[in-house]
């Protein structure tokens, strides 16, 4: 099932607050505990990009404006 869109994460602005991961309707967001970013936090990563429906919920809930959302048009 092809993705409807994708998100772009500004890795080094993310504070690893984990808010967005709770609001993704298709549950494809997780904190990447294998690394720390420039601020010293564990940044966000998309686990399954193909499932993204570009609903912008994650971006709306991000307090630091780290996420940009794009929707693919056919």
């Amino acid at each position: 099932m092809a993705a409807k869109g994708r998100i772009i994460i500004e890795q080094d602005k993310c504070k690893g607050c984990d808010l967005c991961t709770h609001f993704c309707p298709v549950n494809i967001l997780q904190l990447d505990t294998s690394t720390t970013n420039a601020l010293g936090y564990t940044p966000l990563k998309v686990t399954d990009p193909d499932k993204c429906i570009a609903c912008s919920f994650c971006a709306m809930m991000c307090p630091d404006g780290v996420i940009t959302v794009e929707r693919f048009s056919k």
Binding site: K15, T36, L39, G40, Y41
Partner: protein, 180 residues
């Protein structure tokens, strides 16, 4: 310990840097020594840089803020860069090798690299990385015997935190072993 030890303990908020300094000052107080603990208090609650200055002395302490230090404990890269220049010649720098990878160190100081994050994860809780470093420090400097710090642990880790007491003691001993 010669008649005074001036220490900078630095890292980022959440690494337990302030607690490390307080434990040393408490141990000094318990042994009737003079001591001053000074936090760098900034507005950021979490994530910002955090450091404290600890002075331990047999004689009354004058200038409370440590400007030239005998020892620097750097728990992350920015704090190493910020405080490295102020360590006296022949001083000592302990670095958290888990977060501080390549760095060209001064020739005129003793450098001890301890991967405290990695060891802490080995012991099962990243939170005790600071106690491993504390162990390394007293092991390298001989300022206190482990029992002096364990006595402070018993006062600090009570109530909800009591469960952490043994883990912190283990971390302390492990830190000492890393440098002996």
């Amino acid at each position: 310990m010669n008649d005074s030890e001036r220490l900078v303990v630095a890292g980022f908020g959440g690494q337990g840097v302030m607690l490390m300094g307080q434990i040393l000052s408490q141990a000094a107080t318990d042994e009737g020594l003079e001591t001053v603990w000074i936090p760098s208090y900034g507005p950021e609650s979490r994530g910002g840089t955090a450091n404290c200055f600890v002075t331990i002395s047999k004689t009354p302490i004058n200038a409370p803020v440590v400007t030239v230090s005998d020892t620097l404990i750097a728990m992350n890269q920015p704090s190493l860069e910020k405080f490295e220049k102020k360590v006296k010649k022949g001083g000592r720098i302990l670095v958290n090798a888990s977060l501080i990878k390549e760095h060209t160190y001064r020739e005129d100081v003793e450098v001890l690299k301890i991967p405290v994050n990695a060891i802490a994860l080995e012991l099962g809780n990243l939170k005790v990385a600071n106690m491993i470093m504390l162990g390394a420090y007293i092991g390298a400097s001989g300022v206190f015997k482990p029992e002096a710090l364990e006595k402070v642990f018993a006062q600090k880790f009570t109530g909800k935190k009591a469960a952490l007491l043994n883990l912190n003691k283990k971390a302390l001993i492990r830190g000492i072993k890393e440098v002996s």
